[in-house]
């Protein structure tokens, strides 16, 4: 098995290395990936959307169908984990109940230094997540990154205290609907554009709701709305994945 694996890896690697000799030199200005479309984005994205961070502008405006379905994939992954681990099924339910009775007996004592450190770190982490979301138009950032930071701030609390302590404040009844709410906010924006007479996710149609805003700025605000949806989904999905994985789905006892 090991010999076969080494052979497979060497054959695939050899073919790829041979293929890479035809690639353009690394960093060339006229490499096929960096002509046509990318030049159009770089030269016109700012004047069309007023978003200096071109990655945000492309992510949530020009390629917003792509991002919408990526968000849906994240939501679907969360649903899949919920169906695999959370729903009580025969052998898994028996297994996790017995192991968690054992785990509860061997619980570590609480550590005040660790708890205080997590308590102090949580608000700045949370605030930084919101900053990354709202300042994602002007600096590196955006919905996905902000969602991961927000999810990580909850995971930090869950590690520092225990899972039940954080679930008492941020219960499953809140974060599971939030995963769906983010997708709903994203697709709802698209449908609202459709209802107001534009194309799906064409933010310029939203000008009917805010007449004083130029058509570039309304695209900028539209990007913020859908990025907020992405943040809601990603943040709550990251925490939902963590909460279900560490407790084998019963959400009683964490790491």
């Amino acid at each position: 098995m090991r010999g076969l694996a080494i052979l497979c890896a060497i054959v695939v690697g050899g073919i790829l290395l041979w293929g890479s000799t035809d690639f353009p030199a690394w960093g060339r200005l006229d490499s096929p990936a960096s002509v046509n479309l990318s030049d159009q984005y770089i030269e016109h994205a700012f004047e069309e959307t007023h978003v200096p961070n071109l990655v945000s502008a492309i992510l949530a405006d020009y390629r917003n169908y792509d991002t919408m379905f990526e968000t849906t994939v994240v939501f679907t992954a969360c649903t899949a984990i919920f169906l695999i681990l959370r729903l009580p099924l025969g052998p898994l339910a028996r297994h996790r109940n017995t192991t968690h009775v054992q785990a509860a007996r061997q619980r570590l004592p609480r550590d005040p230094i660790l708890e205080m450190a997590c308590r102090v770190l949580f608000p700045p982490t949370h605030l930084f997540g919101l900053y990354v979301l709202t300042h994602g138009h002007y600096s590196p950032g955006g919905g996905f990154q902000a969602g991961v930071i927000l999810g990580a701030s909850f995971i930090l609390l869950a590690i520092g205290f225990d899972l039940r302590a954080i679930l008492a404040r941020f219960p499953e009844g809140l974060f599971v609907p939030m995963t769906a709410l983010g997708v709903l906010l994203y697709i709802g924006t698209g449908v609202l554009c459709l209802v107001l007479g534009g194309n799906f996710l064409d933010y310029e149609a939203l000008r009917v709701l805010a007449p004083g805003i130029s058509k570039e700025m309304i695209r900028s605000h539209g990007i913020l709305i859908v990025e907020s949806g992405v943040t809601l989904t990603v943040g709550s999905v990251i925490f939902a994945i963590y909460a279900n994985l560490v407790s084998r789905g019963n959400q009683m006892e964490g790491l």
Binding site: M1, L4, A5, I6, C8, A9, V12, G13, L16, L17, S20, T21, A25, W26, R28, L29, S31, A33, S34, S38, D39, Y41, I42, E43, F46, H50, P52, L54, V55, I58, L59, R63, D66, T67, E70, V73, V74, A77, C78, A80, I81, I84, L85, P91, H95, R96, Y138, S139, P140, G142, F144, Q145, V148, V234, V237, I241, N244, L245, R248, G249
Partner: protein
Amino acid sequence: MSFFESHFIYGFFVALLMIGLYGAIAKVNLVKKLIGLSIFQTAIILFYVSIGKKDGADIPILPYDHGHSGHMLAPMAEQYINPVPHVLMLTAIVVGVATVGVALAVIQRIYAEYGTVEEDLILEKIANS
């Protein structure tokens, strides 16, 4: 610039991809297989991000002075690296995290069912049952 200088970077991605492929095939432990797949994915993500590089270009975020938006020069394509691979990989990384979560959930389910995550022991148990 010699051919080696301009192309050696692709060798790194191929090497990383080979490590991941070897891990995914050779390792018997399902968690190690999953780590192999994640390394494979990382190789592809790095390759995509590297495609966006342009010599002498800056990150694709235009300098913007809050409140003085009228004084900005029109951006030139050769000043900024290609943002499109970054957009594609930004979403792929987060989706990768979510799919690794699903894989770990499936592994937990397998562990609950068979009491092990070693592939050969699982196959033995299936054959015996």
